[in-house]
Subunit: 256 residues, 8 copies
Amino acid sequence: MTEEMLKNFLRKYKEGQIPDEEAASALGKLFVEEMGFAAVDHIRELRQGFPEVVYAEGKTKEQVAAIMESLYERGQGNIMATRASREKYDYVQKLLPEARYDETARIIYIERKALPAEKDGRYILIVTAGTSDIPVAEEARLTARLWGNEVHTCYDCGVAGIHRLFAHLEEIRKANVLIVIAGMEGALASVVGGLTDKPVIAVPTSVGYGASFQGMAALLSMLNSCATGVSVVNIDNGFGAAVMASKINHLSRGEE
Amino acid sequence: MTEEMLKNFLRKYKEGQIPDEEAASALGKLFVEEMGFAAVDHIRELRQGFPEVVYAEGKTKEQVAAIMESLYERGQGNIMATRASREKYDYVQKLLPEARYDETARIIYIERKALPAEKDGRYILIVTAGTSDIPVAEEARLTARLWGNEVHTCYDCGVAGIHRLFAHLEEIRKANVLIVIAGMEGALASVVGGLTDKPVIAVPTSVGYGASFQGMAALLSMLNSCATGVSVVNIDNGFGAAVMASKINHLSRGEE
Amino acid sequence: MTEEMLKNFLRKYKEGQIPDEEAASALGKLFVEEMGFAAVDHIRELRQGFPEVVYAEGKTKEQVAAIMESLYERGQGNIMATRASREKYDYVQKLLPEARYDETARIIYIERKALPAEKDGRYILIVTAGTSDIPVAEEARLTARLWGNEVHTCYDCGVAGIHRLFAHLEEIRKANVLIVIAGMEGALASVVGGLTDKPVIAVPTSVGYGASFQGMAALLSMLNSCATGVSVVNIDNGFGAAVMASKINHLSRGEE
Amino acid sequence: MTEEMLKNFLRKYKEGQIPDEEAASALGKLFVEEMGFAAVDHIRELRQGFPEVVYAEGKTKEQVAAIMESLYERGQGNIMATRASREKYDYVQKLLPEARYDETARIIYIERKALPAEKDGRYILIVTAGTSDIPVAEEARLTARLWGNEVHTCYDCGVAGIHRLFAHLEEIRKANVLIVIAGMEGALASVVGGLTDKPVIAVPTSVGYGASFQGMAALLSMLNSCATGVSVVNIDNGFGAAVMASKINHLSRGEE
Amino acid sequence: MTEEMLKNFLRKYKEGQIPDEEAASALGKLFVEEMGFAAVDHIRELRQGFPEVVYAEGKTKEQVAAIMESLYERGQGNIMATRASREKYDYVQKLLPEARYDETARIIYIERKALPAEKDGRYILIVTAGTSDIPVAEEARLTARLWGNEVHTCYDCGVAGIHRLFAHLEEIRKANVLIVIAGMEGALASVVGGLTDKPVIAVPTSVGYGASFQGMAALLSMLNSCATGVSVVNIDNGFGAAVMASKINHLSRGEE
Amino acid sequence: MTEEMLKNFLRKYKEGQIPDEEAASALGKLFVEEMGFAAVDHIRELRQGFPEVVYAEGKTKEQVAAIMESLYERGQGNIMATRASREKYDYVQKLLPEARYDETARIIYIERKALPAEKDGRYILIVTAGTSDIPVAEEARLTARLWGNEVHTCYDCGVAGIHRLFAHLEEIRKANVLIVIAGMEGALASVVGGLTDKPVIAVPTSVGYGASFQGMAALLSMLNSCATGVSVVNIDNGFGAAVMASKINHLSRGEE
Amino acid sequence: MTEEMLKNFLRKYKEGQIPDEEAASALGKLFVEEMGFAAVDHIRELRQGFPEVVYAEGKTKEQVAAIMESLYERGQGNIMATRASREKYDYVQKLLPEARYDETARIIYIERKALPAEKDGRYILIVTAGTSDIPVAEEARLTARLWGNEVHTCYDCGVAGIHRLFAHLEEIRKANVLIVIAGMEGALASVVGGLTDKPVIAVPTSVGYGASFQGMAALLSMLNSCATGVSVVNIDNGFGAAVMASKINHLSRGEE
Amino acid sequence: MTEEMLKNFLRKYKEGQIPDEEAASALGKLFVEEMGFAAVDHIRELRQGFPEVVYAEGKTKEQVAAIMESLYERGQGNIMATRASREKYDYVQKLLPEARYDETARIIYIERKALPAEKDGRYILIVTAGTSDIPVAEEARLTARLWGNEVHTCYDCGVAGIHRLFAHLEEIRKANVLIVIAGMEGALASVVGGLTDKPVIAVPTSVGYGASFQGMAALLSMLNSCATGVSVVNIDNGFGAAVMASKINHLSRGEE
């Protein structure tokens, strides 16, 4: 939805062309496309510079495709659907040939606004404890790129061999925002948090077994981090961490 | 079971035709059809205006069919089996050709008493936070209709884009009873509860991942709602919410 | 510790005045004052612009006072001890007459670097759901101020009466970073997260009873927030939220 | 707040006396009295026929008194503060001499609208499993009365001696809405739910020990009730159950 | 192992034929057949009148068969393997043609000691809440029979339609020991416990969904039963309940 | 309540002296004394040979005393109130001078039916793991004695020094029923269960710290016991274990 | 108990002076002093070189004193009671004037076997994350010393300022066994585990708040440690960690 | 990585051939092979005498093979990948023909350093409660052997038939370190812990059902063990237990 459409509506309301009792409802319909099974939020791009993101799990392939199409037609930004299977991608791709799929990140996306070639050095650094955490990290990496950020990664740097982490000390110190992704005991968040004075977003993963209880151990560990400047998102939520990091990063550029 | 049958029995007992030591047992047998694997409750229709509902999960297709047949033959009301697979429906349908199946709601049903064409405006409103909550909502919707209620729905109105909800403000305000269905953090129940002065039945769903712990997050959230007039049913229990809402709705019509 | 001390050490090491086998240990001792019961971290101020913060709970009053004295003497920044009782303050105040105590926030502090009178409008907004959340909010407010931030507050704006929140819409939209503090079902984080495109730090509180399980309900709710750009700190951790928010706020000023 | 005040405001806005950019904020201030530590909601009485209820736990006696005074002056309805200690009452009573205190229910209240002498038989029935559940029941009873309902009670009717319950069968069958309050295993909710076709609000209590885990056993039990028409509120939440029951009861009278 | 073998050994040891340092080990080998993967306990039949029971889950079909063969050859009693798949039965049956399989109970068994035709009326009564609890009940029923007990059953008698239970009041009152099997909220244990003065063994089942948490709700409910004379075994542990009931039943006959 | 009173009532009803519509209610009142705060169950003594037991926790001293008085006057058996403080005893003792108090067991009791001097050897054996479990054990011991059982005890026999347990092997083997009481890891239940072929009632206690989680570790341990013939009661529930054991013991005498 | 006493007994049994049926029981009595409330284990010193340790929590001061006296009289080793209050010490000290009390460790002890002056360099190193963990560390330190070990400590070395830990790198590398004590997120165990190739015993503490859930976060974190060679004891169990470390340390000296 | 390589590097740095700003990074690269998806730790073999172990779960077969190849080429020790499927083995085996696979232990390994034929009697004893615990035990057994230890086993010795355990008393007493593996209630750890004075590593397994909650019951049980000298590793973590035991065993030989 463009800003003109909105201004147009407000003017009409002031002039009395839109009666009081219809206003709230009419405004709502402008902002939101009611599809029965979904209410697509077209105001989000206007407000936040990025369209609504489709959470594909629990939606049929037809539903995912219909929502992506609606976002594609009414907006201009990058479009993405997370937690998407290849089967859903195959269906979407037929309707939206520009759509791409990242197997590891499990994201269907259309990248209409590429990153500028020129960089200002304000990058997001993604650090993972192990190889098994990579799918979550890739979800974060692709999300952050689609939201307009330069992203660096440093995978498999868990604390059991802490020299592996220290080999990346300079990259850690220079990062603008950090995303730390770890399963098992999640100690990496505290260690990285103690090595930087920038904000750290911690993502517990469900990697582990037994008393990791599907990521609960790492989650509790990160919430109780003795390092300051660490906040936490949901287990395996690479997407959420990337959006948070992106907002902070853009803020530091005076963009938001 | 008809009311005459019951009165008949009581008269006989008073007159001494039924000996004391046999009375309790005989009465029980009248009310309940013992099938070995199930004890079908024929008194429920008499008492509550709606026959026993079959919970199909954990029963074989033969058992589901046998119970539905028994209810069909001895009663007059609408019949339904919840949490039923298509495979069970196919089996039931051969014995009871009138039986229908709702794929999304996962309900097998026979609708012998349709809703009256004329409506009195006392409707139940079902609001869901997201598209993924729709199966639970459809279980509630069909149940409420079969129990004789007018039902409106408003799907995908979660609080992250609260204007989507406000577009339905009038419908919310006019509803007689509300069912709010949400997974993840379940915040929708509190927000809707603050917008209406009618009773709200909240249904947490298992939609979510990680620290949603199969719906526990939404459940705890709803139980702790700061809004008054909100009560909660089990996770994913669209059926239970609909029965509760139906009882309240009928009460408001002086029907129960 | 001043930067000169550090450079001095490094030069000596390069010139061979400090033997290899002693270097790591010697450097460590420069950075950290070993007190037996505590190892005071004097490098933190150098690295992060703010000295180590004393977590007073579980420490004796003598320990708290000794650490604060050490920080006072070797550094120049604001000093603070959180979760401190008045009794501990009384003891500290005798040794450090400049020390002040905030009863609600339960913080002992010495403010040596006041906020500049001139402001740039980049403020942190603290929003609470209820009156009972205020102690946590005050811990956050005072911490954020001592770390050099302008702070606004908006207390008792829970979602049950959502118009109370909307009365502050402008202040919410203009804030640079937001801290949302709520107990019970913690729905406020999701609602505020949907109203702003700035980063939101959510703090669950132990306010509530029964199935709030000492803040677990709000914690899970916030971790599962359907709004993007929300990350979470530990239950009742106003201090941690403020440090995270401060880091983001300074970043947006190009200060860190 | 009276309805005239609201209409007045809306007219002014339409006529342009209130500029667009001030409208939302001005309206908010009319509805809500900002006290710094609290934002008193004066719109609630208008909308729901009952003023905001003060949750006294976690508030100082001065805060409780100030909020009650504000509600007393601007409204006309019954006023109440729940979870209040006698000490807080003593303080309130000096400022508001009409205030009364119910020791068992732990409620401070001012009853300005008494129940009509004439009754229509639509009563709420409160059933408890044991004597130890009575404080929660009394909180519910007094709340329901202050909200304009006739209330009956049936205490100490747990299922271990089920004949005690059956002695009240008639009273159960005739009740319009039921509140079932039980700790330990909470089985009473299912049994009562099977004996009536009216809505049942179940309240788990923290009565019990060991594996009752402060009411969790009863809570889970009630959420899993095999009886239909049972919904649940938070542990020990007699107040919440009463408000829910009151809304249903008024609905059945065509009052809401 | 026969009693003679044991007496023989003890005599030899006393006479010094078995040296001190070998005695404990030798005795152990007599009692236990070491198979590498299993140590079959041949003393159990001697001591308890019933051979070791094989828990088939987590064992290969070869292991199950080898242990059953060993028990078959060295003992005289009934033999059984619980939690056994049909596939394991097919393998066992080839080696032990007398072996039978109960599909619902999931038990492989060889019944060498049948129940006496004449009965003394001391029966165990198994009551289930629903049809879905029957597999657990059948495990209990067959186990109890193989351990030499007369067993009655009363299936699908949950508390939601309490008249179904009361139809069996006489059978409940006359039972010597009762096993109550229920999922969901498990209220049946308390109700039955209040109707009899005989010992009740409660078995929570994993029947249910959502907040039943795989039987935890029923388990906690039963542990907190307000009825006296109720004790509890593990979730879905029909076998364990039957052994406990059998021991009590035999005790009442002066057999153990 | 005597048996004559009951027979009298039934005769009158048959003869028509008691109208149908009053019968259930009248019978109920005969069985149960309604005290407002309590419904004293006078039928229990008739049915079970032992009057209702008062659970003193959560009742005022006046309530405890009033219920005990009622039981004293209408019955003939032993009377007891569990979980009672000395303060409550002092109040009761003034009204009922025969009342005694056991400080360790925390039971107020009146013993009107003493144990017969002559014993038949059918004793209940109570085994505890440690000294700290003794209060729970004493609650069990006194309860079992008041319910007419011979009781032996074997305290502080935990598995860490298993020879302490084996010193009591003969006493264990000869016991008719066993109560095993243990906190921490609760392993004693499995070990004792493997040494006897009689029924074992296991009582987890809240003795322990850290990951014992107030007895949950012992509870889970006992529920998962690999020994057969072990069932479990609530944490610290010495009373419940004793009643269960007593019922089994009486059954073995042909008394119940 | 001396070794002679034991040999004496065995000889008598072989010669037939102790009849078979009395042997087990007689041997048990020799090993264990039955006190009614306690069964003091005198065999432990013989077997393990250290007498039974008294766990004072949940025991009366009289019980603690009586057991310590018994151990003092029959043995020769160091004696200790853990989790003891000063009040219990005052009582013990009157009976056993040699007894000493460590306020921080909460241990009453009599040190009859002092550490040898000469050391072999095989020391146990105790590392804590924070000052608040010191009470648990002191319990471990004193226990380890009384069990005959040289102990070093390194307190307040948490990972948030990891240079504090690295200042002790040499001491860590040279330690024979390590005890790592940490609350909050417990990350220290993984980091230390990655820095040494010696066995690490991790002790989670209940230091923390909110989502530390009384030490559960640190416990889960340590159990899931990605470092190898880390095993865990109960929350706050400094004593247990010290005994484990002591056994390993003695083993490395060929002493056990 | 050989020791020469390391010494070489350090000499160059001292001589100034490696500039300060590159040193940390260069050293890191020497130690760690960066593969993008993994950072293989080549320093571990140098430091601990055993190369990094590959945790195969969550890694692709290509990743497992690449890491094993890297370890094979740069090191000399035994190589192993745990939690590996046969499918992954088949892939690895093509690249590394020496690789072997243990189906039960689920380990891919290359044994380049065999155990010495001559033994010193310092063996690790692995005891399991049941047959179903064997896969975890075999993971421990093979790991311990590959790490250079003599290993004995004693399977299926649970406490329900405690004589099975006592048949192995001598082997238990002579073991140098013990690994006790048990599911269900995990009591075996406490019993074995009471029979030896050597260190015991307890491994809870997920064997069990219902309230075993995937091994949580055994885990809590073992953490609360009343026996001293018992420490615990994660559920099903046979590998971790073996490494811990190996470190202790080598320590006792003066090898580490």
